[in-house]
Amino acid sequence: MDKKISVKVCLGTTCFVMGSSNLQELIEMVPKKYGDRVEVSGVPCLGLCSIDWEFSKAPYVKVDDDVIKEATVEKVLKAIDEKLK
């Protein structure tokens, strides 16, 4: 069986305030849509916002090892679909 895709929604303070608060719906939505092919979770600060003070590109989401900047629900779902192709 293929390896599960892992989706990590950063819930550090910066990402949360800059918009990952609105990505929490992914945590319910993704299992409904993809079943057990995708594993999704809210995680503590991934540390991406402190690199070069990149807070303005938050919120960050990691789909496997790919980093999505200024993540939206649509962007994350698209990235998952690409992986599943």
């Binding site: 910066t14 949360f16 305030v17 503590p44 807070f55």
Partner: protein, 490 residues
């Protein structure tokens, strides 16, 4: 139901980014110069221009205007020639915040067409012509086989929209005008939105509704930072909705706020408990005297609505003060030398604070969030710190629609039956309903009317950070681990 999700996310992102940069600038060694550079730091030379803007120069000019609101000034009243550095200097010297907390960035709002009824290309020029026949004002005629509306005669009643069998006639709305429950914002002769402050009740619905993010709150963040920098004992008064905003425990939130430089943190739910006790006693007394109904009085937007638009409601509105009022009274009594800052989910509390000498400043949750980003405070990693005074479950639930009426009901004796009526958000329709109750001197639906300007209660406030559902879950967990107000009485 679109609660806070009606706030376009991209515009919130921009507003918050500017706040973070302003706070960083203030905490740097050159506040004025670093403030002037904000538009250039956000859109450096040769960077991509967002596809909604014509060029980088306009984009920077608009970011400059947004920063003006962040500095706490009116965008409309600031001349284009004034540098952000000069305004930063002026903000630092300011003693009292501006009277009206909202300001409109007119250059960003030009995109909207005026609100009107419009016949689209889908018009089939049918034989029945229900639009022509329905129009009471004779505003529709058939030209070249299609319906045409005469704007001079059209009264925007929308009857033709309803009867067209092809759904070919549409009402074009201006989001801010449509969202305003009291008709206080409208386009002026130049097509720019303008707020009529004689009518405005500061509910902030226009700010949430505008897809261009053109309506801004004038921030008091620099004023608060200045007091903390000067070593003043600054105390945070945190409204119940705040406990649903960030991904941490309430006790961690207290610790995170202390890290910002506050000397102490009080829960406004503590003041809510005073409101509940006072209001329950008042309701009982009014009913004994034969009153038909009473409305709550904790929502600042509703209070301004009554004062400005429904004066006939005044005798029915509770005389009990708001949770912010009682909390500020307690804080100033215990700390006469303190500077008090109310942490608010909405813009309306800024107006209420101006009338209350015990509340020095108001910050909203976006501003607090931006401040935590600027200082790198990880709320989820903070230690836990207990509140000195424990508020009740009912007080902590004030931010949820229905929570105030429920709290009052908890303390009523059995022989005084309360039948709550919940006004969950002010709209043009609910304002009409309230006017009717006031005029008739009665409400057929019940006797205890709770009014919340925002849908969902304070958790749906215009300056909240968290989405409604997860915020509600977090607040509810906190409420469930708290003791009932009844235990304070017994």
């Amino acid at each position: 139901m679109a609660m806070n999700t009606s706030t376009p996310k991209e515009t919130s992102h921009l507003k918050r980014e500017i706040l973070v940069r302003l706070i960083k600038a203030y905490l740097s060694d050159n506040f004025e110069e670093n403030t002037r550079l904000i538009p250039y730091a956000m859109r450096p030379k040769n960077s991509d221009v967002p596809n909604y803007r014509c060029c980088i120069f306009k984009e920077r000019a608009i970011l400059r205007d947004r920063a003006i609101a962040g500095l706490g000034f009116s965008i409309e009243d600031t001349d284009d020639s004034v540098l952000l550095s000069e305004l930063a200097n002026k903000a630092e010297k300011r003693e009292v915040p501006d009277e009206h907390p909202l300001t409109v960035l007119t250059t960003a709002c030009k995109g909207c067409v005026p609100s009107r009824i419009y016949v689209t290309d889908l018009c089939q020029g049918c034989v029945a012509r229900p639009c022509v026949n329905t129009c009471k004002f004779g505003a529709i005629s058939i030209q070249n086989g299609k319906s045409v509306i005469d704007p001079e005669k059209c009264k925007n009643c929308g009857m033709c929209v309803q009867v067209c069998p092809y759904q070919a006639i549409q009402k074009i709305i201006v989001p801010c005008e449509s969202a305003c429950p009291v008709g206080a914002i409208a386009k002026d002769e130049n097509g720019h939105a303008k707020i009529d402050f004689d009518k405005c009740i500061s509910c902030g619905k226009c700010a949430s509704a505008c897809p261009f993010g053109a309506v801004h709150e004038k921030s008091q963040i620099i004023d608060v930072l200045k007091n903390i920098k000067a070593g003043k004992k600054t105390i945070a008064m945190v409204a119940p909705a705040m406990f649903g905003q960030l991904p941490c425990k309430p006790q961690q939130l207290k610790e995170a706020i202390l890290k910002l430089g506050f000397a102490d943190v009080y829960e406004v739910a503590q003041g809510a408990d005073v409101t509940t006790k006072t209001e329950a006693a008042e309701f009982e007394e009014r009913l004994m005297k034969g009153a038909e109904f009473m409305t709550t009085s904790c929502c600042a937007g509703y209070n301004e609505l009554v004062d400005k638009h429904i004066p006939e409601m005044k005798p029915f509105r509770s005389d009990t003060k708001t949770p912010m009022y009682y909390t500020a009274e307690i804080v100033k009594r215990e700390n006469p030398d303190a500077v008090t800052v109310f942490f608010s989910p909405c813009v309306a509390k800024k107006r209420e604070a101006l009338q209350n000498p015990n509340v020095d400043y108001v910050l909203n949750y976006e501003e607090i969030g931006a401040w935590m980003i600027a200082l790198g405070v990880q709320v989820a990693e903070c230690d836990e710190s207990e509140f000195k005074t424990q508020a009740s479950a009912e007080g902590r639930n004030y931010c949820v629609t229905g929570g105030v009426a429920k709290a009052v009901q908890t303390l009523l004796p059995e022989e005084i039956p309360a039948h709550p009526v919940i006004i969950d958000g002010l709209t043009k329709q609910t304002v009409r309903d309230l006017k009717k109750y006031a005029k008739n001197g009665m409400c057929e639906l019940g006797n205890l009317i709770e009014v919340m300007a925002c849908t969902g209660g304070c958790l749906g406030g215009n300056s909240t950070v968290n989405a409604f559902k997860p915020a509600l879950k977090q607040v509810t967990n906190y409420v469930n681990e708290s003791k009932s107000i009844k235990e304070q009485i017994d």
